[in-house]
Symmetry: C2
Subunit: 136 residues, 2 copies
Amino acid sequence: MKWYKIDEVARETGLTKRTLRFYEEIGLIKPPERSEGKFRLYSEEDINQIHNVILAREVLGFSLQELQQFLALKETIRKHTESKDEIPPGQLTEIARSLEEQILMLEKKINRMQSFKNELNELLTHLHETIPTKEE
Amino acid sequence: MKWYKIDEVARETGLTKRTLRFYEEIGLIKPPERSEGKFRLYSEEDINQIHNVILAREVLGFSLQELQQFLALKETIRKHTESKDEIPPGQLTEIARSLEEQILMLEKKINRMQSFKNELNELLTHLHETIPTKEE
DNA sequence: ATAAACGTTGACGTTAACGTAAACTTTATT
DNA sequence: AATAAAGTTTACGTTAACGTCAACGTTTAT
């Protein structure tokens, strides 16, 4: 198994070393292994998880706190569907409801962005009409 | 013409009075009229502009600085298309390019959100399959 | 084995985007 | 006319999300 030190991970993910430590500190990413001394050693899976966090952060536009909640939700579901974890059906429906809520939120955002984009496109069209063409 | 004081505008827009003054201070919204004393008096158009700012902020997820740039761009275009302002064609194409860039950015974001949403939907489907139905 | 390079943990600094409180003025109400 | 209610500016406070620096320990390279 190959291990990566923090600087490699930083360059790979585009985060800074500080941010990696910070995200670990607030529980956004799980603490990686350590060398005999104290060096952080990240596995490929760790790095994948970090990429997921980054993706979710960029896409959702949440605060890190909200992001934590969301990732915790996903983790719960992942563990459950891998049957590593049994969840009482009452909580399960609650979790499903939570997830549906997030999806609806996303859909709303997407729709708003789409209509905003459409407006901008109209603006652009009008603008192009006012630009004189090269042919005379 | 009807004028609105800051508190009404705050309740109407959902911003706080502080935020209204702050946005004015940093030039995100234009300074409204004033009463003979010093009270801010907003017109309906002012309020509309504020709503636009809020929409752009929510949809674009920009910092207020970036938002300023963007709104300035839109203003330039608006003034131009209303022919209140003549712009040399060189700058015009530059402006158009800027706008196209923003649109592409939006499109990218939308696509990412869409595929993220799709993932969540799959997750939800799998989750529902593990929930026992009411019939036995 | 010793220096250079890299890592670690504090801890204080910074920036954006407001919140909050004070001291004062203007408008509305009785 | 006087008091309350709402507004004004000024200025300091706060929170999130890191940046930066110091003092020190660990690996790697020579």
